[in-house]
């Protein structure tokens, strides 16, 4: 099977879903999950193929790079594609029947997300980014309340500003190099983009991608949207979609900006994100907001990891991203019943012991208590940052440690509330429908505890492969484009 199907299949499914729903509601309800399962199988098959034969690239329409658009299939891209597909599939569990438009938009987010992971062309990345963005504005407002609309329009305005900046950055890169293909750019970058204009272009693209990645100055939509959107949507946006934007940033850093000061820019935004996110989480008095701010902090950690040069940073970044993609959606699913002021949680342990236990396991993993995988992810980050001979990275270590203390503080505060005995107020018991995704995510988390050593081995293989710029160029760019001087055709 071809990697294109990862994008084409959900796209096709989204286009025909409304027509199927008009005929048979039940068939329509199962169309989405079936497409996602097939997609998952395709991604697994591709994974096998890539592990056996190495990476490959696909030329759209038979036009090879850099003239046509190419997809680059490597383990990193497949890992993130699987994360999107599996995450959406798990969040589909226990979904209400008959929400045609939500399901269409979910399938389109999967298509756009797989496209973002695979695409090897800057402008194509912009187009897929817009697909994901527009679908998420619609989903953010899907609760149908006035607050949802207001939060969504404010999200849209900030995000549209960011998208324009992204396009401006891409335009600058095209003006400097005359190409949009990542492999061609990787070939040309050391000569053509290792200057101030190249850095400006990176800063502009970082503003654009940072809106979805919840990076420091452009993350103000996060608490509003997560407080008003349905829990499933918050879980999808905060847990999964945000990582895809960071994946694009990582590709840019590895392929184009490896030897510049661009990683330091990402590092400083990451540090600021961790500090502001965790402090705000400590101060907020609403469970949804605590989780929203903590997700800003966690994504700041991923940004710090991706800013570490070489495979060490990529390993830590992937580990943190995957861990967060398991834990945060599960936590958000619990807020469907427990959202709102924190003191509504008083006595939650008596009402529903199962959900309380789930919350505790997830929170401990997020903080990084040793047997749980969150510890391994944070440990990898600290190890990677220590190895770099640069004061800024050592500052980052201090910030990460302080942030961990703050995280522990606010999660312990919440747990204490849960075990307080009931007064007049009682916490609601979460519905089984909402607990299903959380339970499956926790099962995945516990499986990963048991299989730590194979996971860390495959993570380092993925990172080695992703950090290899030469392979990307050789597999994608035909050799008659391997020249730096401008040629008259």
């Amino acid at each position: 099977m071809n990697g294109v199907w990862l994008v084409a299949l959900p796209l096709l499914g989204a286009f025909v879903l409304p027509m199927i729903y008009r005929r048979h509601t039940i068939v329509g309800y199962w169309t989405g999950p079936v497409i996602l399962i097939i997609n998952l199988a395709i991604a697994m098959g591709l994974w096998q193929r890539v592990s056996a034969d190495g990476t490959h690239s696909i030329a759209m329409g038979g036009f090879p790079a850099p003239v046509g658009i190419t997809f680059y299939v490597d383990k990193l891209a497949l890992l993130f594609a699987i994360m999107v597909i599996l995450g959406t599939l798990i969040l589909w569990l226990g979904k209400k029947m008959g929400e045609v438009r939500e399901e269409t938009l979910l399938l389109l987010i999967v298509a756009g997300g797989c496209g973002l992971a695979l695409s090897g062309d800057l402008f194509n990345i912009y187009v897929f980014y817009e697909i994901v963005a527009v679908a998420s504005y619609g989903l953010a407002a899907s609760r149908g309340t006035g607050a949802g609309y207001a939060a969504s329009i404010r999200f849209l305005i900030l995000s549209a500003l960011g998208s324009s900046m992204l396009l401006l950055g891409i335009a600058l890169i095209y003006a400097m190099t005359g190409t949009l293909n990542l492999s061609h750019l990787a070939y040309l970058a050391p000569q053509m983009l290792n200057n101030s204009v190249g850095l400006v272009a990176f800063a502009l693209m970082l503003i654009g991608l940072g809106v979805k990645a919840e990076l420091f100055p452009v993350n103000t939509w996060v608490p509003e949207v997560y407080a008003t959107a349905p829990a499933r949507i918050s879980a999808l946006l905060g847990g999964i979609v945000s990582k895809l934007a960071l994946l694009v940033v990582l590709r840019l850093l590895v392929l184009i900006y490896a030897d510049t000061s661009a990683p330091l820019l990402l590092l400083s935004l990451g540090i600021l994100g961790v500090i502001t996110g965790e402090l705000a989480a400590l101060r907020s008095s609403d469970l949804r907001q605590v989780l929203a701010y903590s997700s800003i902090g966690q994504l700041g950690l991923v940004a710090i990891a991706f800013a570490i040069p070489g495979p060490a940073g990529i390993i830590a970044g992937i580990a943190l991203a995957l861990h967060h993609a398991l834990v945060k959606p599960a936590l958000f699913m619990l807020t469907e019943a427990w959202g709102g002021q924190l003191n509504r949680l008083v006595g939650a342990a008596q009402v529903s012991m199962l959900s309380t236990l789930l919350f505790i396991v997830l929170a401990l993993s997020l903080v990084g208590i040793p047997p749980l995988p969150g510890f391994l992810a944070k440990f990898l980050l600290l190890k990677g940052a220590l190895a770099v001979e640069n004061g800024w990275y050592h500052t980052a270590i201090a910030v990460v440690l302080i942030a961990t203390v703050i995280e522990t503080a606010y999660f312990i505060r919440i747990m204490r509330l849960m075990f307080q005995s009931k007064t007049q107020q009682t916490a609601d018991a979460p519905l089984m429908r909402d607990l299903k995704p959380a339970l499956s995510l926790v099962v995945l988390l516990l499986i990963s505890v048991l299989t730590v050593s194979p996971i860390s081995q495959s993570l380092s293989a993925i990172a080695e492969e992703a950090a290899d710029k030469e392979v990307y160029i050789n597999k994608t760019l035909p050799s008659d484009w391997h020249h730096l001087e401008k040629v008259e055709w």
Binding site: N2, V4, A8, L11, L12, F15, V16, P18, M19, I58, A59, M60, G61, G62, F63, P66, V67, G68, I69, R101, E102, T104, L105, L108, A111, G112, G115, F123, N124, V127, F128, E130, I131, V134, A135, Y137, G138, L139, A141, S142, G144, Y149, S152, L172, A175, M176, T177, G178, T179, L180, N181, H184, S196, V197, V200, E485, K486, V487, E488, W489
Partner: protein, 231 residues
């Protein structure tokens, strides 16, 4: 002045300075001879046989972007439908625009259709193209709605056309996928330059995309117009 206004102004000044500095470098050095654009200028006609090189970039070299653009329109329509919700059947509609406008709109309809289709097809060899033609087609459908809001365009029909057009586009792509193992590959023969059915499957894609853009625009406008009426 509060913190937000100050930081916004700082951002604007930063952006202005950056772009000003970029201008100095880019503007004098923009004659790129080795870029991808130059390659396409010299190779598009022999490879594809299309006269309008922008069209061949849009539909062949960067066809996936165009598919993505159609998808964004589809997403926007779906999301707008989700946000605006269903129209109540007893909702009052805007008042009628009057005899003159109504008649003029009805008179304009066939001409706009012909003009839109002409520009759409003409885009294959000369200025014009899918986007411009599609926008005029959308206007053809929307002007009558503005003139008499009480009898809006039948939703079912427009949705059916929309769905059919997208499905056709996807089927063309899928056929191409199976014939050549590459998405959006070119299907038919090359033909000779400056005939309508030349340049592989480009004309087919051309027509399909033009109609898709037209119906999508009309769909978005109609949906917005309906909410206003129901308020």
């Amino acid at each position: 002045m509060n913190l937000r206004e100050i930081s916004s102004l700082v951002f604007i000044v930063w952006l202005g300075l950056l772009l000003g500095a970029v201008l100095k470098i880019v503007a004098y050095d923009n004659i790129l001879t080795g870029g991808v654009g130059t390659y396409i200028l010299t190779h598009a006609a022999p490879e594809l046989g299309a006269e309008n090189i922008v069209t061949s970039v849009l539909l062949a070299y960067r066809g996936l972007d165009t598919l993505g653009e159609l998808t964004v329109l589809f997403v926007a329509i779906t999301a707008a439908g989700l946000v605006l919700g269903q129209r109540r059947t007893d909702a009052p509609s805007d008042s009628d625009a009057g005899f003159i406008l109504r008649t003029a709109a009805n008179l304009l309809f066939p001409f706009l259709i012909i003009l839109g289709t002409y520009i759409l097809l003409q885009g294959h060899f000369s200025p014009g193209g899918v986007f411009q033609g599609g926008a005029i087609l959308a206007a053809a459908f929307f002007v009558p709605i503005l003139a008499s809001p009480a009898s809006p365009l039948h939703h079912r029909v427009s949705r059916l056309v929309e769905g059919l057009v997208v499905a056709t586009f996807m089927i063309i792509c899928l056929l191409a996928l199976f014939s050549d193992d590459a998405f959006l590959a070119l299907l038919l023969g090359k033909g000779s330059v400056s005939q309508l059915f030349s340049a592989y499957s480009l004309p087919l894609l051309h027509i399909v995309i033009g109609f898709q853009i037209g119906t999508a625009f009309a769909g978005i406008l109609a949906r917005l117009q309906e909410t206003e009426a129901s308020d």
